[in-house]
């Protein structure tokens, strides 16, 4: 123990000798580790949140496909789907995109009415492990406006104000409210398919906590959306299908394809899978961008490691001549690697955590945002995957330590008499 302490002591003196060089290595190393961990923290947190939250998405979404494109779906398809065994409620969804030339942004418009929301008694409170008691009974659930106005749920800060219940009313996302400089009791103008200006009265603004889901939403009445988009009244954007038994979803989906060959059912599992791969892919893209930095660092480490300088070689020779064993010299090199890599990795980890969870990924946001106008602020929940943390730890510490020890090996095993000859 004493021996290791002293070798560590000498390692530190030795590192301090070239303090600017080593400080530079630690800085670059920390930066790379911070970037790496930032990507992992960000994508893991987003992914985890998406996967948790989207578990509540409709079991099946049925789209009509026409000419290889997504098309409006006739509402009488609902009757055909209703005949399938195991199917619960079937609700048409009315939604679409609206490009707002004034602010250069895209909104997602969504039409609702009081009766179209999925509701069933089969999945009650057990799905919500919430400390707040959820409202019970028919009246409290199943109707958007009731759910959001319920006293118990108000604590959840879903919405300031209320959901639209009459025509020409709307509830908007925080992003829309910000970009249009409007709020509750304000107004929003939208231009319909015939070029006519429609004015909506803002009755609710979604809380910023939910921006990641609602940032670009404008929720209006179903009849308003039909008018705005010029949709025929017997058409919907797509159809949400409730399936009682999760295990039967694929069966119901294939049944729908069978009886309605021009449709494309999207299963909840596919949504989840999309989000799993999406974030893997996106983090892959950012990862690739940092690969350059990583490679540069590898070259630096390689150069530092392989090009054992004459000075270092002589130092090893001196140490051996004055009674250090090969093992002691290698231990010195081992400590050198450990000191640099641990300091860097721990510092990088802390920087990454602060960057992602305290500063809302502020350094990445411009890259991720691109030229988006409506980009939600990241209020990330600090889900951390320990497995990822340790994988990065091992993938950075071990190669670095190895690249410090291995080149010294040869110098450490040779007889120290070269030093004697000066």
């Amino acid at each position: 123990m004493e021996k290791h302490k002293k070798i560590l002591e000498y390692t530190l003196s030795s590192l301090l000798r070239r303090r600017y060089k080593n400080l530079a290595i630690i800085t670059v190393f920390s930066f790379i580790v911070a970037a790496l961990y930032s990507i992992l923290f960000l994508t893991h947190s987003l992914k985890k949140e998406a996967l948790t939250v989207l578990k509540e998405a409709p079991e099946l979404i049925v789209q009509k496909v026409s000419g290889g494109r997504h098309d409006l779906i006739p509402t009488d398809y609902m009757k055909r789907i209703q005949e399938i065994y195991g199917v619960g409620r079937i609700i048409p969804r009315y939604w679409g995109y609206y490009y707002d030339a004034i602010t250069d942004s895209n909104y997602t418009l969504m039409g609702i009415n009081g009766t179209h929301v999925l509701h069933s008694n089969s999945k009650d409170n057990e799905n919500y492990p919430s400390p707040i008691p959820l409202p019970q009974g028919e009246g409290a659930r199943g109707r958007v406006k009731d759910v959001f106005s319920d006293e118990n749920i108000k604590g959840l800060k879903l919405l300031n104000g209320r959901m639209p219940s009459n025509r020409k009313e709307c509830a908007i996302g925080k992003g829309v409210s910000d970009v249009r400089f409007t709020g509750i009791d304000g107004e929003i103008f939208l231009i319909d398919s015939k070029g006519k200006v429609l004015t909506f009265h803002v009755v609710g603004v979604f809380a910023s906590e939910s921006a990641i889901l609602t940032n670009d939403l404008i929720v209006i009445n179903k009849d308003d959306i039909l008018e705005l988009f010029g949709m025929p009244s017997d058409r919907a954007t797509d159809i949400a299908v409730e399936v009682y038994n999760e295990l039967e979803i694929p069966f119901v989906a294939s049944k729908i394809r069978e009886i309605l060959p021009d449709t494309r059912p999207i299963m909840k599992g596919e949504i989840i899978r999309t989000y799993e791969t999406l974030f893997n892919w996106r983090s892959g893209v950012i990862f690739t961008m940092f690969l350059g930095a990583l490679l540069a660092f590898c070259i630096l480490a390689w150069d530092k490691a392989t090009g054992l300088s004459a000075e270092e070689r002589q130092e090893i020779g001196i140490l051996k001549a004055i009674g250090w064993e090969t093992g002691d010299v290698l231990e010195l090199k081992f400590w050198e690697g450990i000191v640099i890599s641990f300091t860097s990795i721990l510092t990088g980890m802390i920087i990454a955590y602060i960057h992602i969870f305290f500063l809302g990924a502020s350094l990445f946001a411009p890259v991720l945002r691109g030229w988006s106008v409506l980009f939600p602020p990241f209020r990330l929940i600090p889900y951390v995957d320990l497995y990822q943390v340790f994988v990065v730890l091992f993938l950075t510490v071990i190669p670095y330590v190895a690249s410090t020890i291995i080149p010294s090996w040869k110098a450490a095993i040779t007889d120290p008499d070269t030093v004697m000859r000066g």
Partner: protein, 102 residues
């Protein structure tokens, strides 16, 4: 006694990381109510996607888009991601687009 300073430094960093981890767990616990709220939103509004990138169908609703259709927005639409997130489209395209769409 440099090694004592070093070990102290490393230990305090580890402690800070542990503290951050514990803090994370507390925050997850405390913000579970937010998650519940979001679950209700998803369920009641029948949402399928996160509202992060709003510039194209396949970035706003990746789970709903059919990725086999080219030019999903309109034939001369500019690519959005990843290129779009690094390089903004030329100003004239943007104005042209807004005139056209308007």
């Amino acid at each position: 006694m440099k090694y004592k300073i070093f070990i102290g430094l490393i230990l305090s960093e580890i402690l800070l990381i542990l503290a951050l981890y514990v803090f994370s767990q507390m925050l997850i616990e405390r913000r579970s109510i937010e998650i519940t709220a979001k679950k209700i939103l998803v369920r009641e509004l029948m949402l399928t996607d996160l509202s992060i990138w709003t510039e194209a169908r396949y970035t706003r609703h990746p789970s709903q888009a059919d990725l086999f259709t080219p030019f999903q927005d309109f034939p001369s639409s500019v690519e959005h991601f990843p290129a779009g997130s690094i390089i903004a489209p030329p100003e004239n395209i943007k104005t042209w687009k807004s005139i056209k769409r308007y």
